[in-house]
Subunit: 376 residues, 2 copies
């Protein structure tokens, strides 16, 4: 089901290898997001060419469309979306939480109206496990309540965060029971909650570790909190998780966030940022970010980053051309920008893995952060 | 500048080879349309992988965006859009004609307001040659007036079509003079007009042939006329053009239209249909057309066409998956559909070239038309 090997460490940073049913994942690793069974604007063959080893699918979205009957007919998500390597699926918890006023949370689960057709639906820990079993994801996430940072402008109190965290723990136990009942051959990860409160995070870690799950995620970050609050939790929680199990920081983040996460012992990341920002003309580079819509790129014949080997940069597509495609609403613009941004994220992870292997991660980080400030 | 070699003929059908400044084009050939310097949703590398030899760019659109200053800085369209092989550019005539009430045609040229920023612009035969010279297209089209089939529901009369055709002839002469003055090293094609009137088409051919241009196009078809009217002109005009020069049927058409054009001696085609229809879930196959949005594809695990070797079909992407992507508005849907449709068009041309080489085009055509009726 899952084997995790820790190959090198440097401080809290870890270089490992994760064996899953559909293949091997070198960690630290970034997982491109394929919400509806497609990483937006990128062919699976292009993802493989740039070295992606694992992608994410969204349980909530795939449950609604195409639905379980279709996915069951394909024997799961891999065959449906033509992705032969590992897949992680989230639990649907974050998405139902994002529905805001349209959902109602109880001990049993979450009731909501389908945003697709208005159907009344109930998502529970058991249903989430059933869906993810049909999807046949290599890594299955427990159904949790993602504790918000604030609600209607009011910051979540410690009591509220505790109540929410404890609900997630009870749901974790129900997920494990259902996962076992279903004879799911993959790996179930628990999710640490507890909001921005270290004591709650520690309690959540302790209770999840007792469950002896094959991996753990840090949830409830990147939910609107100030950057320093997120950094505080990332500095606190990962190293309190068992060293011999993979750690996944959910929904994070910027390139700097990834580097900070790795420095604190995180092994897996996912984020829509590389693809979403690409579609908005926001490109990541080694020397800082580049806003394609800025008129100064209008006649700039240079590639996005001369040192980059992605299809867009190595193919010689210029900033002027990408600026033009964006301005004209041409689909090729987001396609090339997504190839670039995802390549940048995956290359960043490759560099961090190498640096940790060679015990030079701290020095690498200093240069990386200085380069990023240089300006592109 | 241009050399055209006729390798085989079968009846009126021709198998030839066109040598242009940026490469060789096997005819009959289909040219994917890259209006704004991008074939919508398809990487240049993917176009090359599927065997595209020449693509089209739109003078009118590229003049407005990115504009001549930018294109001049790149030394033309090839470097800007990273397409190393031949390019044909239209003259802008069809696009200004399409502006309808927003433009005013005179002997001098066409005055109109830019749909991008409202600027008052004047497009003349000379300006069209100047723009296409900056673009450095391998094949430059004369600036013409595309005679409409009908205007506000009233069918164009023979007198109106003659007046329009004669204007296009005078513009052809001005184009040639300007093209020579500019020392353009590429090839200028004339455009036969004359509406749906054979006598006018013959007069247009006679006058253009006197100009001894390196190639000729049949314009003013696929402009809203009934299919039988188009077929009548396609049966009439191509074989009246010089046998030793390439013939280009503009803006045509369906797979059956292409086969009919080849049968009547056409060498080059362009059409937005493969890419535009792809974006609307309309797929072309050997066994007829397939509408992806039809609910019957919801759980169909078959590829679009099991005999097709495009990236989508050979890659095992199912009808169910493509149906799902279309339903969810995922960009990968039009990307895969465009790869399929363009591959189908290019493969169709390859098959016709082979059939003519082997003197079995007539038999091939019978089987092709029967297969297309079979249903997919």
């Amino acid at each position: 089901m899952l084997a995790f090997e820790l190959l090198h460490t440097e401080g809290d940073a870890r270089r490992g290898r994760l064996a899953l049913r559909h293949g091997t994942v070198d960690t630290p690793q970034f997982m491109p997001v394929g919400t509806y069974g497609s990483v937006k604007g990128v062919l699976p063959s292009a993802l493989q060419a740039m070295g992606a080893q694992i992608i994410l699918g969204n349980t909530f979205h795939l449950w609604l469309r195409p639905g379980l009957d279709v996915l069951r007919g394909f024997g799961g998500l891999h065959a449906f979306e033509r992705w032969p390597a590992p897949i992680l699926t989230d639990s649907g918890g974050f998405q139902v939480w994002s529905l805001g006023e349209m959902r109602k949370i109880s001990e049993e689960g979450v009731r909501f109206a389908s945003p697709v057709n208005g159907d009344r639906l109930l998502l529970t820990p058991e249903v989430s496990m059933q869906i993810q079993t049909v999807l046949d994801a290599d890594i299955v996430m427990q159904f949790d309540e993602c504790t918000p940072y604030e609600t209607a402008g009011r910051i979540t109190t410690e009591d509220e965060a505790r109540t929410s965290m404890e609900l997630s723990l009870r749901w974790a136990a129900r997920c494990r029971a259902e996962f076992e009942r279903l004879d799911n051959p993959n790996a179930l990860f628990g999710i640490v909650q507890g909001g921005m409160f270290e004591a709650l995070r520690e309690a959540s870690v302790a209770r999840l570790v007792e469950m002896d799950l094959p991996g753990y995620a840090i949830g409830g970050v990147s939910v609107g909190e100030p950057k320093e609050a997120m950094r505080r939790i990332v500095a606190h929680t990962p190293r309190r998780l068992p060293a011999d199990k993979p750690r996944y920081l959910m929904g994070v983040g910027t390139p700097e966030d990834l580097v900070d996460g790795v420095a604190h012992g995180v092994d897996l990341f996912d984020c829509v940022m590389p693809t979403r920002n690409a579609r908005n003309g926001h490109l990541f580079t080694r020397f800082g970010d580049l806003r394609l819509r800025n008129a100064r790129h209008k006649d700039d014949a240079r590639p996005i980053d001369e040192t980059c080997r992605c299809h867009a940069c190595a193919g010689g597509f210029s900033r002027a051309y990408l600026h033009h495609l964006d301005r004209c609403g041409e689909m090729l613009g987001p396609m090339l920008a997504s190839l670039h941004n995802l390549h940048f994220y995956l290359q960043l992870m490759r560099e961090m893995r190498e640096a940790i292997e060679q015990q030079r991660f701290a020095g690498w980080r200093g240069r990386f952060e200085a380069d990023r400030m240089r300006g592109v």
